[in-house]
């Protein structure tokens, strides 16, 4: 056992930043035109998140579950595993998250995203908008190729941030559904840090912000009556 305790995160970074970012270009090329379907699903989430009904919440959970399963298989298992020995484990964690979203959100009807948002919910929704609109542009802003863009529903980082955002924007404190996204914020942060990528801090920072919002949310809800949400959740 002690043999394995000698390792540090840097020992497991077995690919160069060039190889890592080219992976997204190869992935985007390989799965095209899946981007169009995912874009349609993201549009659906944007519309459904303005409804505030239990049924709309179920559909949002179904879409989120589907994209986590998709990223687990298409990105982690099929693509990332070609350069990272730990990627099959990431795939398993993402698949688990997908099933949890379906179980709790779709079958359990416990995810309701209301358009009537308090402060932490509003910040959470902003994180979702950041994941779908800003994060794909990060590669361009950092001087990388447009084809290396990381999109919500296609790549793990924006999928994790977008999901955290929607969960925070929802009616309850879905801490169970936030465990895997939180873990991914840490894993991705460490990976990018060991690669000395300039944006390494983004995922850990989002994780910290999301954790603060998660604890703030119940207090914010206490200070504001939301009868419609309570009725729908009953």
């Amino acid at each position: 056992m002690t043999d394995w305790l000698d390792y540090t995160p840097r020992d497991f970074l077995l690919f160069s930043p060039e190889t890592y970012y080219r992976l997204f270009a190869l992935h985007n090329e390989a799965v095209w035109p899946a981007h169009l379907y995912v874009a349609a699903l993201v549009t659906a989430i944007l519309v459904l998140s303005q409804r505030g009904s239990v049924d709309a919440g179920r559909l949002i959970a179904a879409i989120l579950g589907a994209v986590w399963l998709w990223v687990a298989w298409a990105f982690h298992y099929e693509r990332f595993a070609t350069i990272h020995l730990g990627a099959p484990w990431y795939a398993a964690a993402f698949a688990l998250q997908g099933f949890l979203l379906l179980l709790i959100g779709f079958f359990g009807r416990r995810l309701v995203v209301s358009p009537d948002r308090n402060a932490p919910q509003l910040i959470g929704y902003t994180l979702f908008l950041f994941a779908i609109f800003i994060q794909p542009l990060a590669s361009l802003l950092l001087g990388r190729d447009l084809f290396q863009s990381e999109m919500f529903g296609m790549a793990p980082d924006p999928t994790a941030i977008g999901t955290l955002g929607l969960l925070l924007a929802s009616n309850r404190s879905h801490w169970l559904l936030m465990i895997v996204p939180f873990l991914w914020c840490a894993v991705s942060g460490v990976t990018l840090w060991t690669m000395q990528s300039p944006e390494w801090f983004v995922m850990p920072a989002v994780g910290v912000v999301a954790a603060v919002l998660l604890f703030w949310k119940p207090f914010a809800a206490m200070g504001r009556e939301r009868p419609s949400t309570v009725l729908r959740d009953a």
Partner: protein, 313 residues
């Protein structure tokens, strides 16, 4: 009082094992790249006397490119240039992701199996899994047998050394070894070197990380164990740090044109070192690195000068 090993070696010993072509380069002749394949500096593997060029090729990070066809083509170009220079030893590990597969594909494509000195590792817990992993690695490399198998970072080393010894006695393997990196577990490594019949150790050694000079390199020389040096540039940190520094005028005295060559010559001029294995994904860096495998090597006094200069920087 006994002098340190380094001080006991004369310049003549440093230049030992040179081919005639290399001797020409030492006396001022500048061989072209095309000529260099027959003029690389070599050193004999202590346990067999087989000569290998002082510079090999590592694959940590650089050849782990997955399915990317562009990067695989580039990796093959790097290996092609390495073989054209006369390079032989390529080192990898199952830990290095797709590296072994990429190497195997390139060796096959370049038809260089005869020149290749294949060195890989076993990196898994347990004897049975180790045997399966070795066979999987062999299939990925597309070679009938490995020249050298090493226990990676001493993981399950007792189990694996047993397996490797069996393979060696069956003539399915020529050399066996153990590895560490980043200066870790030197005490364990020393214990294995003293108590086990191994042909090679692989460890981290460079002008900045010199701990191996104290005990391990003299012990390797004493026990007749070959030494493969990993992380010769500290994973790129050393060359990066020296990038802005002008190449000193004295570099010409040891036939170096750039910092990587100075750093590599510092390593391979230690008489206990058999081969250094810098990794690169750039074809032009192969030429730089292999340049350290020709010409004059620093003598002990010159080595001290290099180490002091690096320490000052």
């Amino acid at each position: 009082m006994r002098m340190p090993l380094e001080d006991r070696i004369s310049r003549r010993i440093v230049l030992g094992g040179l081919t005639a072509g290399a001797a020409g380069s030492i006396f001022g002749l500048k061989p072209s790249f095309a000529q260099q394949s027959s003029s690389l500096l070599t050193r004999a593997i202590p346990s067999s006397g087989e000569a290998v060029p002082l510079i090999g090729l590592g694959s940590w990070i650089t050849f782990n490119v997955g399915d990317d066809p562009v990067s695989r083509k580039n990796s093959a170009a790097v290996m092609d240039r390495f073989f054209r220079f006369g390079g032989r030893m390529i080192d990898s590990s199952p830990m290095y992701g797709s590296s072994q597969e990429v190497i195997g594909e390139a060796v096959d494509k370049l038809k260089q199996a005869k020149q290749l000195f294949s060195a890989t590792k076993v990196w898994i817990s347990g004897k049975k899994d180790g045997i399966a992993q070795i066979e999987q690695s062999r299939a990925l490399w597309r070679v009938p047998h490995f020249h050298l198998l090493q226990v990676h970072n001493l993981v399950s080393w007792e189990d694996h050394l047993e397996t490797l010894a069996e393979m060696k006695s069956d003539n399915r393997l020529r050399y066996i070894g153990v590895t560490t990196s980043h200066g870790r577990r030197h005490d364990d490594l020393e214990r294995i070197m003293r108590g086990r019949p191994i042909d090679f150790v692989q460890l981290t050694y460079n002008a900045a990380d010199r701990e191996a000079e104290e005990r391990l390199l003299p012990l390797a020389a004493e026990k007749g164990i070959g030494v493969i040096v990993n992380r010769p540039f500290q994973g790129g940190a050393l060359t990066e740090a020296l990038e802005a520094e002008p190449v000193p005028g004295w570099a010409a005295e040891i036939d170096c044109r750039n910092w990587p060559q100075i750093l590599l010559k510092y390593i391979v001029s230690h008489p206990a070192v058999t081969c250094a294995i810098p990794a690169t994904s750039k074809v032009e860096h192969v030429a730089e690195n292999m340049g350290a495998c020709t010409g004059r090597l620093p003598d002990p006094a010159f080595r001290k000068r290099i180490a002091s200069h690096i320490a000052e920087i």
